[in-house]
């Protein structure tokens, strides 16, 4: 069936649609504030008159290649192009700015995106419906346990001062609480303001906290900015050698597998995939410490988010269930184009379903080639004077934040969170724990409360279900290991770590 799919997607129209989607996705992904959700939502109305297969190929390529593009501004400017690229900033920007290897950072991101995406697409091809069924097994109790494990990764992000990290974590949870209670629809912390009823919008908050804060730092340091001089801004100079490939391959493969799986889970999405992919990398040795410009960190984050984007198609195509916010928009598109997304899609519209999967292979290759080709152009951004760069970035952040909410509310949120992010960083508070808590805690709250409703309040549900029990054991192991180790070290049973 996949070969039939290739026959469908390799028509001239569909190749051009794939190419157009890939280019647009790179562009949309690179611009801070405009992510795949905004890109797909903006383009969707234009595709209503297209042939459904051509339309989904273009939008699918846009969604997928957006994951490539999101890393560019993360690496070059420390501003994530979209939320899955937040973790790419942690190593990508230090690698570009402090270690003076922007070309290598971009190439690592592209290569890891390709590897992770390929893994995701192959798994989708071989076992798409099975993957979707596995995703179904993750109900509220299972997701709660998994998300608690994910929340422990905040511990690795708190930096040298755990107290500050914990304060920021709770601040992130508090911000996430603003709006309507997901289960009862009751307003929380809205202060009678209609805008706050919808909560603090995700994209403007993230772009403000990380991106706009970075812009303010650039403004502050503009007189001290040293013009970056890079001797060789060529593709050849950016290529990864055998040693680099050996370093990133295990991380890319691991994160690719993890990201695919996370992409399948209900509500998880590429952002959660990238967080978990990066957190998983923390458990393995790297040549340089993660967070200081390690290519392994860039590879882990990028492979995971591309794999998650591919994985999200599994429940969408096999069951008609969107795995992410962007998937929900695509689902609407499927209905608009006259299709019936659901368990029968592969039977009633095999050309469409397999054409889309085949086009993801094509989009992966096309995007990689385009992405590598534009590296010298991207690197030239670093040579742009800061006084020109700042207004451009501000404009893009404003446009992106506006497009998230179709109103100035998003822009105001971006501005305020930017100021908060700037002040926090100035006083030594890393905003990464706040963002992780903000992303994960609404999902955790929703799943946990549902789990308690289903079990009529019994905690035993987290230990009676096998998958949930497994993750709870992992959680206890993660939490208790340092405590036990400290006790044993004090008792002299275990040697102290140097």
């Amino acid at each position: 069936m996949l070969f039939e799919g290739f026959k469908v997607c390799l028509s001239f129209n569909n190749i051009m649609a794939c190419f157009a989607g890939a280019v647009l996705g790179l562009f949309v992904g690179a611009m801070p504030g405009i992510g795949s959700l905004a890109g797909v939502a903006l383009l969707l109305p234009l595709t209503y008159k297209f042939n459904p297969t051509t339309a989904i190929i273009m939008l699918g390529a846009l969604y997928y290649s957006n994951m490539y593009g999101g890393s560019y501004s993360a690496i070059l400017l420390n501003i994530p192009g979209d939320s899955p690229a937040i973790m790419t900033c942690l190593d990508g920007y230090p690698l570009a700015s402090k270690r003076k290897q922007p070309g290598k950072a971009l190439m690592t991101a592209n290569t890891a995106s390709f590897i992770g995406g390929t893994i995701g697409i192959i798994i989708l091809t071989i076992m798409g419906p099975l993957l979707a069924d596995i995703g179904l097994k993750f109900g509220p109790a299972e997701m709660t346990a998994l998300l608690l494990v994910a929340m422990t990764s905040i511990g690795w992000l708190v930096g040298k001062n755990p107290t500050k990290g914990v304060v920021l974590t709770f601040l992130g949870i508090l911000v996430a609480c603003i709006g309507m209670d997901t289960l009862t629809g009751s307003p929380r912390f809205d202060f009678g303001n209609t805008y706050l009823l919808g909560g603090i919008p995700f994209t403007p908050f993230v772009i403000g906290t990380v991106g706009f804060a970075q812009v303010m730092r650039l403004m502050e340091e503009r007189h001290n900015a040293v013009k970056c001089e890079f001797d060789r801004l060529t593709i050849k100079a950016s290529m990864l050698d055998g040693h680099d490939m050996k370093r990133i391959l295990p991380f890319a493969i691991r994160s690719g597998l993890l990201g695919t799986f996370v992409g399948v889970l209900p509500g998880a999405g590429a952002t959660t995939g990238a967080f978990l992919g990066y957190a998983a990398a923390k458990g393995f040795k790297t040549e340089v410490p993660l967070g200081t410009g390690a290519i392994e960190g860039v590879a882990a984050s990028e492979a995971a988010n591309n794999a998650a984007a591919a994985g999200a198609f599994a429940p969408l195509l096999a069951l008609g269930i969107p795995g992410s916010g962007t998937g929900a928009v695509l689902l609407g598109g499927l209905m608009m184009w006259g299709l019936n997304p659901g368990p029968l899609l592969f039977k009633t519209n095999p050309d469409f379903a397999w054409g889309l999967i085949a086009s993801l292979f094509l989009a992966n290759i096309l995007t990689l080639l385009i992405a590598i080709g534009i590296i010298p152009f991207l690197l030239k951004i670093l040579a742009v004077p800061v006084k020109v760069l700042i207004p451009c970035i501000i404009t893009v952040c404003v446009v992106g934040s506006y497009s998230a909410t179709y109103s100035m509310y998003g822009v105001i949120v971006m501005g305020i969170s930017g100021v908060i992010g700037y002040v926090l960083e100035k006083y030594g508070y890393s905003t990464a724990p706040m963002l992780l808590a903000y992303v994960l805690s609404p999902l955790l709250e929703e799943k946990m409360r549902k789990a308690f409703i289903i079990s009529h309040g019994s905690v035993a549900t987290f230990f009676e279900k096998p998958i949930a029990c497994f993750f709870m054991i992992v959680l206890f192991a993660i939490v208790l290991t340092p405590v036990v180790r400290a006790i044993l070290t004090k008792a002299g049973v275990v040697k102290k770590k140097k």
């Binding site: 969707l44 709006g179 997901t182 629809g185 695509l330 609407g332 659901g342 289903i454 009529h456």
Partner: protein, 328 residues
């Protein structure tokens, strides 16, 4: 020269009378749009409301019922409340060129969470009605509604998953009729019907409360079974086997129809309301609307003109406010 200038000025002043944007002739008795029409949708693109709106606007343009363009604006802030408030506050001539996709699923949270009320709008029409169905997993031990009732009475932990306020109101009506409490048969709210269906497919929740459109594919594929039609009469097609509640036992049939309609600001003129109401009637009578939207989504075509829709929506709001204790 002076006379020429005065004459020119007089002509310009006279011409400005005919350059008036609203060509309301003979007072308030007729309306014909002279400029593009703004249409507010208070949910994201790709969703049900977006599809509904685009279907109407596409048909209206294609069939030549309207010559001006529809400018669709997505205003999702505050769960859509900002968009609804903005439409309610639209004044002057702009009010005649402002439409709002308005469903029961919009009215209920608006009444529950804000002080905005239907009185701030002018109902224009109703276009379609939707009902709900109860679904179970194909291998669930509750293969009939009677089995569910027996299970609840025996103390089984049965949970119903639905989405949003309109599903919750139907759930409340159902358990009231059955004589159960929410403690006996809890309800889980989800952001979307697909989340509710996912939880049943995964075996985590026993029953999903869903619209026929979202259910058909799963019932047809054999993954789920419809055990109850929340309607006064049975559905057709793949859902035809689901009985109504009065067929299950000594109960009345339960239905809390979900409606899709259209509204304008309170300051919209009666002539403009009548115009849009007639426009929507023409759209609802087209084959494209009936086949590509109503039948395809398992809806019930139920056009109500402005004269019928207004008292219907007013009564709906009154009943809802009473149910939530905000009817003072």
């Amino acid at each position: 020269m002076k006379r020429f200038c005065v004459g020119l000025l007089a002509f310009a002043m006279m011409a400005s009378v005919f350059a008036n944007g609203t060509t309301e002739q003979g007072g308030d008795t007729s309306f014909n749009p002279a400029k593009d029409i703004n249409w507010t949708v208070t949910s994201k693109p790709g969703g049900g409301s977006d599809i509904y709106t685009r279907m109407i606007t596409d048909i209206a343009k294609k069939e030549g019922f309207v010559t001006k363009n529809f400018l669709i604006n997505y205003k999702t802030d505050g769960g859509g409340e900002v968009g609804r408030a903005a439409v309610a506050n639209t004044k002057g001539d702009l009010a005649n060129y402002t439409l709002l996709t308005f469903n029961s699923g919009d009215l209920m949270p608006m009444d529950k969470n804000t002080n905005n009320r239907l009185a701030n709008f002018k109902p224009i029409c109703l276009m379609a009605v939707d009902k709900q169905v109860l679904l179970v997993n194909a291998d669930s031990k509750y293969q009939t509604m009677q089995a569910v009732i027996d299970g609840v009475k025996a103390g089984d932990q049965i949970v119903i998953a639905g989405s949003r306020e309109d599903d919750y109101m139907t759930f409340k009506a159902l358990i009231n009729e059955l004589g159960f409490t929410e403690q006996q048969i809890p309800y889980i709210n989800n952001d979307s019907t697909s989340d509710a269906i996912t939880s049943v497919l995964g075996g985590h929740v026993a029953i999903a409360l869903a619209k026929p459109a979202a259910s058909q594919a799963y019932v047809e594929s054999g993954k789920m079974k419809a055990i109850l039609a929340l309607s006064n009469k049975r559905f057709t097609g793949v859902l035809a086997d689901a009985p109504t509640l009065n067929e299950v036992g000594p109960y009345k049939a339960v239905e809390v129809p979900v409606w899709r309609g259209l509204a304008g600001p309170a300051e919209m003129s009666d002539a403009a309301v009548k115009y849009y109401s007639d426009l929507m009637r023409k759209v609802s009578e087209t084959e494209t609307w009936q086949n590509d939207y109503i039948k395809k989504n398992g809806l019930i075509s139920e056009y109500m003109s402005c004269e019928e829709a207004a008292p219907f929506m007013v009564q709906f709001e009154k009943d809802y406010l009473k149910k939530i204790g905000k009817d003072k």
